[in-house]
């Protein structure tokens, strides 16, 4: 326990600076001594002290991710993939589920290489004051803040969904999502995309064409779909604002004796592989999660290497939506 390079040096019979070189693949050491040092190190169970390491190098190869809404599943697959991607680039990832402020504080104190903030809803007002030594990249709807941001284009995504459905002949296209008086920015974007498209294509309108949900559980999707089918709107297609909603919606549609897509087409927001597993496989729009993860990782790593050169230009990246057509949609 707590064996240091000095211990390794003593056993291996070399100086500890030589050990350091051997451990770091320095060319300033012979293969032979290197082998010996490595052998002793692993035999002693040597584990480098990252505190010392990042104290001297003033940084580490660790990215801190802030994820205050751990109970929302929406980000979990994205975060999983980001983690894998970072590992490929020899970075580690560490999560905090504290508030933005608390998390930034502790990450800063550890002098992490970079910080990634996944916060779709709440933005601490004091965050602008926090002097972050590490590059801070926000994922979500934060273009207004004076920080680097990366976003998915939700408005375009839903617009594309309507375009696609209209293109194959649908005219009564319903929407199930968050229409509350004060929806989060992200949800408002989706609704805007829907309304814009409805107007743009001159679709039939109806008071009951857009159904609001209280949260994004399957249960709410189920209830909303029941309500939709009970109205006299008689939609030929429905667009759902999330994967979970969709899973409830298709259950409700099936139970009401309708078939997908023969009687009604379903298109879901959230371009994640899991859509493939639903029955039937669901046509989806939104930024593909793999692509999003890759962009996030690439951007944060760029910011880290850029951070030497000042001034750093502000980055605001928007990931386009992709339409993935599956079995749940067809011409009416």
């Amino acid at each position: 326990m707590n064996v240091t390079i000095k211990d390794v040096a003593r056993i291996a019979g070399v100086s500890y600076s030589t050990v350091s070189k051997a451990l770091n693949n320095s060319p300033l050491v012979t293969q032979k001594t290197k082998q010996k040092v490595l052998a002793v190190a692993s035999q002693l169970g040597y584990q480098p002290n990252l505190n010392a390491k990042s104290l001297v190098s003033r940084s580490s190869h660790v990215i801190g991710v802030i994820w205050p809404t751990v109970e929302e599943q929406a980000f979990s697959s994205l975060i999983t993939i980001v983690n894998e991607e970072l590992k490929q680039h020899a970075y580690s990832m560490v999560l905090s589920i504290n508030s933005l402020d608390d998390a930034v504080t502790i990450f800063n104190q550890y002098r992490l290489a970079g910080i990634l903030a996944f916060c779709e809803r709440e933005w601490s007002s004091s965050v602008d004051l926090l002097p972050s030594s590490a590059p801070l990249l926000y994922y979500g709807n934060a273009s207004r803040l004076g920080h680097h941001t990366i976003n998915v284009d939700r408005k375009q995504a839903i617009f594309d969904a309507v375009s696609y459905l209209h293109g194959i002949g649908h005219n009564r296209i319903a929407y199930i999502g968050d229409l509350s008086r004060t929806p989060e920015e992200a949800q408002l974007d989706k609704y805007r995309g829907y309304m814009n498209a409805v107007i743009h294509y001159g679709l039939q309108t109806h008071p009951g064409m857009a159904i609001s949900v209280n949260d994004f559980s399957w249960d709410e999707g189920y209830s909303a779909a029941k309500k939709l089918l009970a109205s006299d709107y008689d939609p030929t297609a429905v667009i759902c604002a999330s994967y979970e909603l969709t899973s409830g919606v298709i259950r409700a549609i099936k139970e009401s004796g309708y078939r997908i897509p023969e009687n009604i087409s379903v298109v879901s927001y959230d371009n994640i592989p899991q859509q493939e597993q639903l029955e039937p496989a669901i046509t989806a729009v939104g930024a593909p999660v793999y692509l999003t993860a890759q962009w996030i990782v690439e951007t944060i790593l760029d910011l880290i290497s850029d951070s030497d050169t000042s001034p750093v230009p502000q980055k605001h990246i928007v990931i386009p939506s992709v339409l993935t057509i599956r079995a749940s949609s067809s011409a009416p």
Copy 2:
């Protein structure tokens, strides 16, 4: 950026050891200089370097939590509460979603104060080899390993559910859970509790009294309940192995025209507050999540303070189940 105590000392016109004392509430400094130092520190935006701090103190006030199955929501409320509890004790929490080995490795390298492993299913075989300098506490089914463990009593929980239902007059009590040939240990425990109780109380048995699910989604619960109701078992009560399953089960029961609890009682595993929000509020068994979180925090903090004194006795804590009666159950 990167202002150190030396900078603070220079501006405040004192030596940097005085600054250190002032920052750490040492009694060896006058209130006046302390105030001055604190003022200068905050004005300069001083942020302590935790790397240096834990390098010199050989530890930090940070607990690392290993959570490889981030996509399973089961732990999320527990982890949220653990986080809050730790904050109360002036500890920070940091998560890793890597494999057990990878996570332990990096946490060790950062010399964190303690490690908490939330891994219900997979146990890396090599984990025993990892020399962890920090106390490692496992949550899950790991009593076989040579490590400290903390667990909930799932077998007792389900047994209690049957006892309760039998006590108020039920004789045909169904079970919906994971009965696959090779279930995880945790799920097997639940089923054992059920079977033990069925035998113990001499309940009516039937081939279709226990329905197996493939995963713990609401969807599987829904399908299982439909199957159960279609059989000729005619249960007066049903026990579900998880919260998500239950949410699907009650939907299926309602749709089949039955009322809860008049026609059929429902008891769910997972003693979490969310059970209260279902319609009707669900009677639940299992270790209350708040209690579990408190035990976890208390145990890991104990282990940390014990770790000075060697040898440390091995701790294996089992948290008892509690029956929380709500509207979903009544005499048949």
